[in-house]
Symmetry: C2
Subunit: 249 residues, 2 copies
């Protein structure tokens, strides 16, 4: 069995943010498996097969990729961002665990990439400059109780908080509920950043505060960053100092 | 004033993990400012000046970079990993805030990169597959009380925890103390990964458990990942399922 499976992330969108290692993996693949819009970021190559699928069918997609690799194909599973952060890598290993015994001896590799929160942070300065958490607001795969518990813990311990999947047509209310929870713990003047399409030519930043943040301004392509108590504005930038004892001298 | 300042990250080490955008910024710079070992990752170019400095003098380095940019140079500040995660971007904005008024109108940009925890996760599978936190164990710039409070909050809310700066010659005890705190909350069989030199050709993984983890195996080049309650091993990989309700069928 000479097949292989590499799980890659295209980065946030711009080709200039896709790593050379990922570009090489894509160039050597016989088969690309992924959500349609991510596959569209990959330049076409003669003889390469594309297996585009819908969003929300990650496990099926992972099983297809593993079957192809087991049949001797060089398969690349294409995620956005980093494949290990709220993306396809976990789904691939779930499929391995619940799948055919021979899949465990496959040549599987993960290539890291630039995840959305890093691109979003770079658009505005350095808001992730201190300790931070990443929380997905999607409750498709976990309970809202768990999301709430994590939001509270992160706020109480004064982490910067990056919110992935803040909203979608099917889940329009989560971000508003998250802001409400955070407002019971964090100050109203805490900086909040809604960064849409970070790391693409269409990037758009709304810099606001927790007290004023409007959840309806976020959609599927938005990454939300809620600052720590030390997060601050300087000129047109927002950043979190490395120190909790910041000197202004 | 036609100078500019770009803050970049080289990624974890291998050239194949440095983004093309960062390579372009480096190629166009007249001046590179950074910690010596990170500058060494950048191929030399004729006419480009290098300002190498020691670790632990981030603010001085940031001020030098800003002065050069204000004098009309095209400056790139070189971090490892992603510049916004426990690296130089925050120091640059601290220097802007406390520095000369004209620095606020400079052309400053941050280019995102692949941070160490993403490279470490990719080496072992997908341990960051659920909600996660990143905590620096260095207490040079924050109190150990803060570190402890964040470790407890992260453990109680069942986040995966990535520990940056787990140990150095000057700080040999922090990781052991962190493990002790986590052991009071997380189960002894929780997967723990000590990943040294992730994303380089010398990468080395120790996969162990919280009960058995030996803090003396970590050094400055190690990134430590402590799993959530759902983090598990499958074959030679470790991953965190996307769901907290994992079906094994």
């Amino acid at each position: 069995m000479s097949g292989s499976l590499v799980v890659v992330g295209t980065g946030p969108g711009k080709a200039e943010l896709m790593t050379p290692a990922t570009q090489v993996a894509l160039a050597h693949a016989t088969d690309l498996v992924g959500y349609g819009p991510y596959l569209d970021r990959v330049p076409p190559r003669d003889g390469q097969r594309r297996h585009a699928s819908d969003n929300r069918v990650e496990l099926e997609r992972a099983r297809l990729a593993l079957s192809l690799a087991a049949a001797g194909r060089r398969v690349v599973v294409v995620s956005g961002g980093d494949p290990g952060v709220f993306a396809m890598a976990a789904a691939v290993f779930e499929a391995v665990e619940s799948g055919e015994a021979q899949w465990r001896s496959l040549d599987i590799r993960v290539e890291p990439g630039v995840t959305a929160m890093l691109a979003a942070a770079a658009e505005v300065g350095a808001p992730l400059g201190g300790d931070f958490c990443a929380i997905s607001l999607s409750d498709n795969l976990k309970s809202w109780t768990t999301v709430e518990r994590r939001l509270k813990a992160a706020a109480e311990a004064d982490f910067v908080i990056a919110l992935y999947n803040p909203a979608s047509k099917a889940r329009p209310t989560q971000l508003g509920r998250a802001f409400e929870i955070l407002r019971t713990i964090k100050a109203a003047e805490t900086p909040v950043l809604l960064v849409r399409a970070a790391g693409t030519s269409e990037a758009k930043v709304i810099a606001t505060t927790l007290g004023a943040a409007d959840p309806s301004r976020a959609d599927m392509r938005t990454l939300v960053i809620v600052g720590a108590s030390t997060t601050r504005q300087v000129g047109r930038w927002v950043y979190t100092p490395r120190s909790e004892r910041v000197s202004r001298s």
